[in-house]
């Protein structure tokens, strides 16, 4: 991370990459230094086991931090009823104790979804490299960090060496152009992008999200966009750090202090794509036409404006897309031509590493205030972390949620994935602020529509897919 001086014009991601190359050799991947390694219970046990078998230690426990999130219940902080889930959590606790890794367990004030926990403590900083055995590690790119998900073999590699061999990815720019319409959120922007480029559109690339619309977003909005980079196949999704980033970070627990803060900001200001840097490819999204967006299918690219209808699979020219759409509609129980606004839902989920931050909860609460969740709907509001929960309660958001008839839960991954007690039943339909509408993602046979927090809240009130404007 020492300042690098290259003659070549480079992108933000290349600058971060270049500053972390430990070793470079022709015909081999670069060996990259990792500044921060985040762990959770699901993808780490086999990695710690590998260390034990080889007699290795964790090289840098001071750059490693763990939390419990995927398996944890959100209705209490004491009992993990499923013995297999409990064993996985207990294994993480044992491993962290044995290898000297700091852990935020269930009940700890900093516990939460790993991608909420890191930023809220100020650990996620511009210009750093961050990995986690979790594909949504791309979230941290919102701070101008090079952050990406890795598999368990790589988790073991980072634990043992604090480095990763990585082939240099290609560079892509995503330009959000035009002016945003009122009521359109970061979630709508990223869903619209994925519908435009498809689930494989970013494959092999590190992307940088750019444009005045991105610069105007809060850190929470930026994290929502970077979070879903992996849903269109990108390795990482960066946003250049700016005053918004610094203001968000300043004073947080692990943010630099005093003189170090000034030195850090001076360095962070250099983290911008050079004017004449060349991207391998560019995508432009015209945001002026984006309206509240929902998915209708079983991958995040199968989305449409809420004002549209379920598409006819026959309208897809590509045979693969056509058969995928047919399969998706059969699974989702939808018919071509059906208006999306007529789709009734059983469950509304607000939470996850995509939309479980304080701003997301505020947006949902603003819609629910003075209204009631429809009797046919179960609404779960799950803060992304214990700290988010406490902050939300300090401003009375929990009262709005429970007053409207929603469930106010403890922090965790919850219904984003079917690994803890919060799941859909077969055939149940949800409007969910999470990131994946895959078959069975929220529980076997469950049907997921991805939406923004305001759309989720409006849907809970209407009992069918709806935007806040539809409630007036």
């Amino acid at each position: 991370m020492t300042e690098s001086h290259t003659a070549r014009a480079t992108t933000l991601a290349e600058k971060v990459w270049d500053a972390h190359v430990v070793r470079s050799a022709a015909g081999e991947p670069d060996l990259l230094y990792i500044d921060l390694h985040l762990l959770h219970e699901v993808t780490s046990p086999q990695a710690f086991d590998g260390l034990r078998l080889a007699g290795r230690r964790v090289r840098r426990p001071d750059l490693t931090i763990a939390t419990e999130d995927h398996n944890t219940p959100t209705d209490n902080l004491l009992t993990i009823a499923d013995p297999v889930s409990r064993t996985q959590i207990e294994t993480l606790r044992r491993n962290c104790a044995e290898f000297g890794v700091k852990l935020h367990p269930l009940g700890d004030p900093e516990q939460g979804v790993v991608h909420v926990m890191g930023p809220q403590q100020g650990l996620t900083q511009p210009g750093t490299t961050i990995v986690c055995g979790d594909s949504h590690t791309s979230t941290h790119g919102a701070f101008g960090a090079l952050a990406f998900g890795i598999g368990t073999s790589e988790v073991e590699h980072v634990l043992a060496t604090q480095t990763l061999p990585q082939a240099k990815p290609k560079q892509m720019a995503v330009n959000f152009a035009g002016e945003l319409q009122p009521g359109v959120t970061a979630k709508d922007l990223i869903l619209a992008l994925i519908a435009q480029v498809g689930t494989g559109g970013g494959r092999g690339h590190v992307v940088e999200y750019r444009g005045p619309v991105v610069e105007a977003l809060s850190m929470e909005g930026r994290m929502t966009i970077s979070n879903m980079s992996i849903e269109w196949g990108a390795k990482a999704g960066l946003i250049a750090p700016d005053e918004t980033t610094y203001a968000w970070l300043k004073g947080r627990r692990f943010a630099p202090q005093g003189d170090d803060w000034d030195a850090a900001v001076e360095y962070w200001r250099t983290l911008r794509t050079d004017e004449d840097a060349v991207f391998d490819s560019e995508v432009t999204v015209d945001v002026s036409t984006v309206t509240p967006f929902v998915t209708w299918g079983t991958n995040p690219g199968q989305g449409a404006p809420l004002s549209a209808s379920v598409p006819d699979p026959e309208s897809f020219v590509d045979e693969g897309e056509r058969s995928a759409a047919q399969r998706a509609l059969a699974y989702m129980g939808l018919t071509p031509g059906q208006r999306l606004r007529d789709v009734a839902v059983d469950v509304v989920f607000v939470g996850s590493c995509t939309n479980g931050r304080l701003e997301d909860l505020r947006a949902a609460a603003a819609v629910l205030k003075g209204r009631r969740v429809a009797p046919s709907v179960r609404m779960l509001v799950v803060p992304g972390s214990a700290a988010v929960r406490a902050a939300a309660e300090a401003e009375g958001l929990d009262q709005i949620f429970t007053g409207a008839g929603a469930e106010w839960r403890f922090a965790g991954c919850s219904m984003c994935l079917g690994m803890n007690p919060d799941t859909l039943k077969p055939g149940q339909r949800s409007a969910s602020t999470s990131n994946r509408n895959f078959e069975g993602r929220q529980g076997k046979g469950g049907r997921t529509h991805l939406v923004s927090p305001p759309v989720a809240a409006a849907t809970a009130v209407a009992g069918r897919l709806a935007a806040p404007a539809d409630l007036d």
């Binding site: 230094y33 043992a160 604090q162 689930t199 991958n299």
Partner: protein, 195 residues
């Protein structure tokens, strides 16, 4: 990691695109703390359908999975690779893969090969016509051969070398422990740390 040079086996045609890792192995199977025995979770939801191709006894013992584009998108779970491997697959062929899944597979000796859609269509037709038709994957020559046809595939030299030698990445990296220590000494004071 088991060495991979050349493998001949039979293929399973999986005519689906966007086979995400939640389909390859649903999250409920991710609660274990072991590294083997994940075959029971492989395509668990789809295998409940008797007509699903992996339930067809004609494809028993197949070692090569041939799938549509965007195979292995989504979650980073290496369990997806373990499940395929534990079921008995040595190779997955598809037009495109999710990056994390592909990286995971190549670290575990499950060879993932990108072939263009027409080649995948040919392999589907071949194995649908004759489930015992042999398919040869030759990593040495970077070729897939079946029914008299040959398709070249790309794989970078370093990954190919690692697979052919069955090398452990961590051991390779620790050869450069001196360079890692030197880098660490140059990190700025303001870099984040949890302690």
């Amino acid at each position: 990691m088991e060495k991979f040079t050349t493998h001949t086996g039979t293929a399973v045609p999986l005519r689906r695109s966007n086979v995400d890792t939640d389909q390859i192995i649903p999250a409920v199977y991710l609660k274990r703390v072991t590294r083997t025995g994940f075959e029971d979770g492989l395509f668990a939801a789809w295998r409940e359908d008797p007509a699903f191709v992996l339930n067809d006894p004609a494809y028993a013992g197949a070692t090569i999975l041939v799938a549509g584009p965007e195979f292995g998108t989504g979650s980073s779970r290496e369990h997806a690779v373990w499940a395929l491997r534990d079921w008995g697959f040595r190779v997955v062929i598809a037009p495109r893969f999710g990056d994390i899944f592909r990286g995971n597979s190549l670290k575990q000796g499950l060879l993932t090969i990108e072939l263009p859609i027409p080649a995948v269509e040919r392999l589907w037709a071949l194995s649908e016509g004759d489930s015992r038709a042999p398919v040869t994957v030759d990593l040495t020559a970077r070729e897939v051969r079946a029914a008299g046809a040959t398709w070249d595939f790309a794989l970078d030299d370093f990954t190919r070398y690692r697979l052919m030698e069955g090398l452990d990445d961590i051991g390779l990296t620790l050869l450069h422990a001196g360079a890692i220590a030197a880098f660490e000494a140059s990190r700025p004071r303001f870099a984040p740390a949890v302690a």
